[in-house]
Homo-oligomer: 368 residues x 2
């Protein structure tokens, strides 16, 4: 008899490691990266107030975190115009969306996303046996109308939409999302991933009632708040849905330093503004560096920029590899035609200087 | 149509919150606890080296943690006499055992544990639809022979055994566990929870090869290492089993401050010895306080002591409630006859002083 006996579902899952981190790449190449621009982390860091709060909280780390994240949920509710019962704090969007998939999706259940959108969502859907249906991007943007139409066709229980989008950085107005909701079929929940919304133009965040049972929104402290390594994010949704996570979540799963940092971070609006300004400057700088090299950058509402390498996916992959070989960590879209691009995170001026230095060499090598 | 559409399994799960934290109790009673002795946290705190490492790492928190926990796995492998491929780092034992249950257990699969053992294990088994079979404690100890015999009867895929035990603090020698393994049925994995093993007498840790496919051991930084709020633990097991977690785990789920703290903590053997000494003193103090009040304390190989309140479970519950009402956070076993006890975590002298002050009043009130 095999030992141990996995579930039938687990036996069907691929045994390859789906996500290689930059540290693994550094170990492979035998040197650290000069510029870490591949994971859309915030090189501008967290609020100094959050840093102080986290360093102080380290002294309290012998205690489990508050499983209800009481204080943080209350603060977020105030900011979001919702009640604390509408807010779920969890281990980053990745952790929360894994639990959401677990709540809704079993073997054979239909789920809809865009081909080339967030792979971690697909990973969790596969991990619970869901059938993933994909619609294509249109003009490098996710297509809410097509997503919701497909959801109706396949009787989907869940549909994924990121606004702004990752990996392209494109976006829809919140009003367009709200209008499209009229065509979301009954019985289908929209997971609206707003990981990057703090970087987007006013009006990008969809004005949706926290109590609207059709939608769960997810946000994170990993991007604009500069706390990717803290693993903390939150969801906003109807009270019944938020409460249902209590059936399955790891109740004592939150790191208390992360909880303290998030609370301080969300209260420091000035730092958020500072980061938004720095990101806007870096987006312009990436766009300019691309143009100096004869490449075009896509408009972005995020803290990264998709740069069109001007040829096919194979060429863009070579550009990426040559950048990595020269110490610049970047990633790229996986699906045609978006895969003609590389995705470059916004960095500080010194990071952008490294990019400006290395990109011409990488392009020349890729063309050789 | 209901919105959203949960899985059939989720619809069967209870919607009550299974685990109330001490912060919630403090909010209910309107005052902080005077002594936090209910969750077996380490009031002696983490290694000062770990505190320094964590405070320094806060400055790097803009980066995701290394998904492979490379450096920590290598250090733990050295200490455990295993290879890094035998080690899985995860979000505390709670997180790892949730994923283990997910790997093995689907609706109707048989699982065996002791009646009154770790409720979070039961929670995860129920959460994946497993059928939980329970054997009784014998003389306040878990009973490996009975567990494995029941596993054979019900064709269990997974059996849970904590050594030392929580909530009673009792233990078996490692040699006894190894001998009992001969009767573990084929196709059944033993989850050996060693969360408290650092507090136990020499010889309590079972000498089991990391590559033994019959067993997965789990350890934590939440207890002896004083980092419960960091949410980091590890499993030791056969390479294939450890690798299988990569199919489902949240790869970027680790807090990087926790990773840095754990690495520093595991390298500070002197602090571990200090904590072990302090815990031994506190166990003796709890035993003495119990005796002064006419109660008997059970021998303990952990950082807590089960104190027999000398009557039935209802009386012990009243004692607990009177302690809580007086600002002493404790918990208690839930199942007869273990529920005649309250479970008191080891604390610093000042925490033990509070217990000594309050216990006579609590007993008097419970008897009134």
């Amino acid at each position: 008899m095999t030992q141990p006996r996995y579930t039938d579902l687990v036996n069907t899952l691929p045994s390859t490691v789906p996500f290689v981190g930059p540290e693994e790449q550094e170990r492979s190449r035998g040197a650290p990266f000069r510029a870490r621009l591949g994971a859309n982390e915030s090189l501008f860091g967290p609020s100094p107030a959050a840093v102080r709060a986290m360093q102080a909280e380290v002294l309290e780390i012998w205690k489990y975190g508050d499983p209800s994240s009481h204080e943080l949920r209350h603060e977020l509710a105030t900011q979001m115009g919702a009640r604390p019962e509408n807010i779920l704090v969890g281990e980053g969007i990745d952790g929360i969306l894994g639990n959401l998939v677990r709540l809704l999706i079993g073997p054979g259940d239909a789920v809809v996303t865009s081909d080339g959108a967030y792979p971690t969502f697909n990973y969790h859907v596969a991990g619970f046996g869901g059938d993933l249906h994909k619609v294509t991007y249109v003009d490098d943007r996710e297509d809410p109308a097509a997503l919701f139409a497909r959801a109706r066709e396949v009787d989907a229980k869940l549909v994924y939409l990121a606004n702004p989008d990752n990996p392209m950085g494109t976006w829809h107005s919140g009003a367009a999302i709200v209008a499209a909701l009229d065509d979301l079929p009954d019985g289908c929940l929209l997971l609206l991933d707003e990981a990057y919304v703090e970087f987007a133009p006013d009006g990008t965040a969809a004005q949706i009632s926290a109590d609207d049972p059709r939608v769960i929104r997810m946000r994170t402290f990993s991007k604009a708040y500069g706390m990717a390594g803290a693993r903390i994010g939150y969801a906003i949704g109807a009270v019944d849905l938020i409460r249902s996570f209590d059936k399955i979540r790891n109740h004592f799963g939150m790191n208390r330093v992360a909880q303290a940092g998030a609370l301080a971070a969300v209260r420091d609006g000035a730092w958020l503004t500072h980061v938004q300004d720095q990101v806007a400057e870096a987006r312009a700088r990436i766009t300019a560096i691309a143009a100096e090299n004869g490449l075009s950058a896509l408009p972005s509402a995020t803290n990264f920029v998709a740069v069109d390498c001007g040829a096919d996916g194979a060429f863009a992959t070579r550009v990426l590899e040559e950048l990595v070989a020269r110490g610049v960590f970047v990633r790229k879209p996986a699906v045609t035609p978006q895969d003609r691009c590389i995705r470059i995170s916004c960095g500080r001026p010194q990071d952008m200087d490294v990019l400006a230095e290395v990109l011409p060499e990488a392009l020349a090598a890729a063309r050789a």
